[in-house]
Assembly symmetry: C2
Homo-oligomer: 315 residues x 2
């Protein structure tokens, strides 16, 4: 059932022993949402905890700085920025069937929770968390502001992606005034690259291919590149956006080879094509301009199917 911001705030205020779930392969938005909510619940003297099926990437370690060590049997489970049960991953599958509240901004949210607050006009789940926390009457501390800023900045590409709205900027202004450590966060997330990242970026750019007069571009990230550059998982953020950045490209695709030889595919689109529709060819989905899927197909076959789906979208 869909609920409002006010109802979501009421649910949280009326509960205790609250478990907060982030999605697997966590990003700044799911973690920023989870920790902002955690600190807001602490402010209401609630017992609460954040869990995630995968480790927190090092660049987001600061989000959990104020976390308390607790152990409890949850009486209320909240998932943040988690569009489907599957995205909780195996480690959290026990909780997947009993999520009480989901707060999310994905158009394709599957409605798996008892109650869902979803707004696909929000650039980030953190925009919704900002509204919920204000509705809970919790003061936005510097710590909470830094968590919310992290989610908003990462999901909006630091305010450059088309999901950014006037409201996104208004919230960012409020968070900066509330003490978000935004200069450091921006520098670490958007203005710093490791030498390994620079090296792998050059190698990925060397694999660029084009079709349909340059309207479709794709690139590959192989296990070999990871090995010879020493780049870590957390250093690959944003590589998926590279092919779409090239002038004239309307559909940009990256195929990332996994350790088991399968491919994780990211699709980014400019103005015309529906990225989620292209990813449906391998049972994936996501947003209109950014979507993903996975396949066990060999590389050439995967590219062929993706190109066919992309061409259909461009027609």
């Amino acid at each position: 059932m869909r609920i409002t911001i006010q109802q979501a705030a009421q649910r949280l205020l009326s509960q205790d022993r609250i478990l907060i779930l982030s999605h697997k392969s966590p990003d700044g938005d799911t973690l920023g949402s989870a920790y902002a909510l955690l600190y807001a619940l602490y402010a209401q003297n609630k017992t609460a905890q954040v869990i995630c099926g995968d480790p927190i990437p090092p660049q987001f370690a600061y989000l959990s700085d104020g976390e308390k060590n607790v152990s409890f049997e949850p009486s209320f489970i909240v998932a943040v920025d988690v569009a489907s049960r599957e995205l909780l991953g195996k480690a959290l599958s026990d909780y997947a069937l009993r999520v009480d509240l989901c707060i999310d901004h994905h158009r394709m949210n599957e409605g798996y929770a008892k109650e869902t607050l979803v707004d696909d006009q929000a650039a980030a789940a953190c925009e919704l968390l900002y509204a919920v926390i204000r509705e809970m009457d919790v003061p936005i501390t510097g710590r909470i502001a830094s968590c919310l800023y992290t989610g908003i900045a990462t999901d909006s590409g630091c305010f450059k992606y088309p999901n950014t709205t006037a409201r996104t900027h208004q919230i960012a202004a409020d968070l900066i005034e509330a003490g978000a450590d935004y200069v450091r966060i921006n520098r670490e997330l958007f203005d710093t690259k490791s030498r390994a990242r620079i090296e792998i970026e050059k190698q990925v750019l060397d694999t660029l291919s084009f079709a349909e007069n340059g309207r479709i571009a794709w690139a590959c990230i192989t296990q070999e590149m990871l090995h010879n550059t020493g780049a870590q998982e957390s250093e690959l953020e944003g590589l998926a956006a590279l092919p779409r950045m090239i002038e004239g490209v309307e559909v940009g695709i990256t195929l990332r080879e996994q350790q088991d030889g399968k491919y994780k595919i990211s699709v980014r689109t400019a103005q015309k094509a529906d990225a989620a529709a292209i990813c449906a060819v391998f049972g994936g989905g996501g947003h209109l301009r950014a979507a993903g899927c996975r396949t066990a197909c060999p590389y050439e076959e995967a590219v062929e199917k993706l190109l066919a789906a992309a061409k259909k979208e461009l027609e």
Copy 2:
């Protein structure tokens, strides 16, 4: 003499036949400021014109879409985002000695105009133009909003540089609500790279050198790279920021070879060093985190002097 926003607005409202000057090698902020002011003056039925010593780069061509073809003897001259007379360039040197009003956000503004409105806390001159235009009681049309958004977004690195403040975001929110064409502007300015740009970026990264345990990094952009990639002047925007983006780098320097064999140098700093102080070694200047200078020294000698100045700043 320094004047306030209110006084600047009064001067503009009380004058007619107004000439607006942009600095040479124009960027989004000087052009966005100039055209926003032009359209605001049109709204007050003034005769006005923008001039610049160099051509408008193609990615900023949209700014002048609403320009009228006029010819007049100016009775009032305004310079926007122009820190010194010298930055007007040779083509505008006749006007350089008789600037009535300068609106600028550079700490080092030389006070060459009869009256100067300067605020070095503003991320962009366009932040000041926004305040002046509102004070002039001119409605912010979509066209004016697009000009102001362009300047703010380019000078703040699309809100990721440390000069961004809560006010920067508040103004961005207002401009988006006023109809700024921000999705297209962001895509063209921050999310699109030509193939030539991608190629030259790879070549520049190949020249990276490090000193002081990776705290200083420098790179070179040669005339040969421009020739073999076919990259145009307007495709080099942001290359100056590359060395500073590397993890651990506190001073990032680029040396760009000019057609006459001289070097144009850009310095970017992280938290400690003063970029303007480093550029003073060759008589240059700018902001605390971003500055520039030029030299006729040979490459090795230029690097040596810059490194010495950078080391002194890091001490």
